[in-house]
């Protein structure tokens, strides 16, 4: 008993005027394609939330246990640089959003400008972070690399910071816990910086493609979804900044 049912006609030939060149053939139309891509990016960002979530959980637990150590350790961070970085990132989110708008409005030169500005701001953020990291390295506040407790058992050895906060010296065991703070600081900001670097690299690629007109011919999905990614990286920083920099600034 044979019952094969074969729909045996050839695939219809179609000219490419019927749909844009960028429509992938497994999608029915560009709307479905854009919808799927956007949804995929939101889902990906959800995975990133879970990724950073583990770190935030660890932070919350240890901050609860070792509050005095966290307070004094966070005084070692420069609030000016941190605030500046926050402003830089928020501005870069603005320029990115403007870029997306330009792409949707098919303004190619506007898009390229916005992408370049975002790129520069992103580099600026990383530059400031480099300055901060360098300071930490010089003061031996990098866990695992000759980590020094001097600033915490004897705050007066650090005149600038002492002048501002008048920290009391920490007992040795509590001072040791500042290493946990800095571990979390470096891992969290490091992960964040890694995501920034990846974003900046993609931005560089996008600037080239934008100049060739890739995103201003109606196909804005890539720019839109990258915008989502960039905003996400910004939002992570918005959480990192108060948690790491702003613990009890005024005792």
């Amino acid at each position: 008993m044979s019952d094969s049912t074969v729909v045996a006609h050839a695939a219809p030939e179609h000219g490419h005027e019927e749909h844009p060149a960028y429509l992938r053939h497994h999608f029915e139309n560009t709307a479905q394609q854009a919808d799927a891509a956007g949804f995929a990016m939101w889902l990906f960002l959800l995975t990133e939330v879970m990724f950073f979530g583990g770190l935030f959980t660890a932070y919350l637990i240890y901050r609860n246990w070792y509050y005095p150590a966290f307070v004094e350790a966070s005084h070692q961070l420069n609030v000016v640089w941190g605030t500046l970085n926050t402003a830089v990132l928020i501005t870069s989110s603005f320029t990115m959003a403007m870029g997306v708008w330009c792409a949707e409005m098919r303004k190619q030169s506007g898009l390229v400008l916005c992408l370049i500005l975002t790129f520069i701001l992103g580099l600026g953020f990383l530059g400031i972070k480099t300055v901060e990291y360098k300071e930490k390295i010089e003061k031996h506040h990098v866990p695992g690399f000759h980590y020094s407790l001097k600033s915490f058992v004897d705050p007066q050895s650090d005149p600038e910071i002492y002048k501002e906060y008048h920290d009391k010296p920490l007992a040795l065991d509590m001072a040791r816990h500042t290493e946990v703070y800095f571990s979390l600081y470096f891992v969290m900001t490091g992960m964040h910086a890694l995501h920034m670097i990846i974003g900046i690299a993609i931005l560089g690629f996008m600037i080239f493609r934008a100049r060739a007109g890739a995103y201003t011919a109606g196909h804005v999905t890539f720019v839109e979804n990258f915008g989502l990614y960039w905003h996400f990286v910004d939002i992570v920083w918005i959480f990192l900044f108060p948690l790491l920099y702003l613990i009890s600034r005024h005792q």
């Binding site: 246990w65 070792y66 058992v153 010296p169 007992a171 040795l172 065991d173 509590m174 040791r176």
Partner: protein
């Protein structure tokens, strides 16, 4: 156990242990645990049989030859409800029963005799309060609740006595505890059940259960002479704890007499129960919980004392009900020649360093 006919119970237990399906029951907990296990096995057998019966019956009745045309049935809310509620009900019974047993196992009675166990790669070290030390074995009496306070010196280990149906992880950095009461003299397996490296399978030993008389004999015959508390007193002096915790009214550190088991008011407003874990923490991380009314000047002894040393100190403080012995040690220190075992008035942050330079007794 009392609810099942004793005959059936005896039969089950005998059958299971004779055929080596169950380990011997050697603790008071074991029959309680086994009762729940039997219940779970029974429920599982019934459930499995039910599923197999349903599937087999349907396969026979509705095989293609017998029942060539299938009847499309959407479902049945009543059946769904049945096989949701009944399993849920049974599982909840197990949950409650199991939780009761769990609470029982990890809540030692007040009259439990405490033995400290330190796990390290790859051996178990047991320290009896009377100063007896054992490696890879544990001698205990019948009829006496025994609490084990466990800690690891390196990685996670797990102290398991199948015959007693108890098991507890030994974790680096904090105490865990478990208790049991042995009922039958004999020798039983002790296993490490948390993978801990190369010789994990060699980290095994014997639990030797003795009658109370035999146990007394064993205690007498295997002591090193100094009890844990005595060793603790020795450390208390040599580490200069007595400099601040000297029991005087103007002392820099709180009075430790009768502190064990009391509720302490902390400087941050909260309060804490002064148990073994607290005592250990306050030696290693004193800044965490400063007693109200005292300055946060106690130095940490992290890195300067081993887990066995901490155990001795904890045992000492547990048994301290007056400052008499502390005073004695201060007097003795005072009589020593200059520079030996003496500290100058301790400066914040200095005492630890001083103790480190003055012949640290690390065990």
């Amino acid at each position: 156990m009392s609810h099942i006919s004793p005959v059936i119970w005896q039969f089950l237990v005998k059958w299971m242990t004779t055929f080596a399906l169950f380990p011997p029951e050697a603790s008071k907990l074991a029959p309680q645990m086994d009762a729940l296990l039997f219940f779970e096995i029974l429920v599982s057998l019934i459930g499995l049989t039910l599923v197999i019966l349903i599937v087999t019956t349907f396969c026979i009745l509705y095989s293609k030859e017998r029942h060539p045309v299938a009847v499309q049935i959407e479902g049945s809310t009543i059946l769904e409800a049945t096989w949701t509620i009944i399993p849920l009900g049974l599982f909840l019974v197990m949950f409650v029963w199991g939780a009761l047993i769990y609470f029982r196992v990890y809540t030692p009675p007040a009259n439990a005799m405490n033995i400290y166990v330190v796990g390290k790669q790859w051996m178990w070290k047991a320290e009896h309060p009377g100063g007896q030390h054992e490696i890879n074995s544990l001698h205990i009496p019948t009829g006496q609740p025994v609490q084990l306070t466990l800690i690891s010196q390196d990685v996670f280990h797990s102290f398991s006595i199948p015959a007693f149906r108890v098991k507890r992880e030994a974790i680096p950095g904090r105490y865990t505890s478990v208790w049991f009461e042995a009922t039958t003299p004999g020798t039983y397996h002790l296993f490490c059940t948390q993978y801990c490296g190369t010789s994990h399978s060699a980290m095994i030993g014997d639990i030797v259960v003795l009658t109370p008389d035999d146990y007394k004999k064993w205690l007498a015959g295997s002591t090193s002479g100094m009890s844990l508390a005595q060793n603790g007193e020795r450390l208390f002096a040599s580490l200069s704890c007595n400099a601040c915790h000297n029991g005087k009214p103007d002392a820099r550190g709180p009075n430790l007499a009768n502190v064990y088991g009391s509720k302490l008011a902390l400087s941050n407003g909260g309060s804490v129960l002064a148990d073994d874990a607290y005592l250990r923490e306050s030696i290693l991380n004193p800044s965490q919980h400063i007693t109200q009314g005292y300055a946060p000047i106690m130095p940490t002894y992290q890195g300067q004392i081993s887990e066995e040393g901490i155990i001795s100190l904890v045992e000492y403080i547990k048994n301290l009900n007056s400052d008499y012995r502390i005073q004695q040690t201060l007097n003795t220190t005072g009589l020593l020649p200059e520079g030996e075992g003496k500290t100058t008035t301790a400066m914040p942050g200095n005492a630890g360093a001083k103790a480190a330079t003055q012949g640290m007794v690390k065990q």
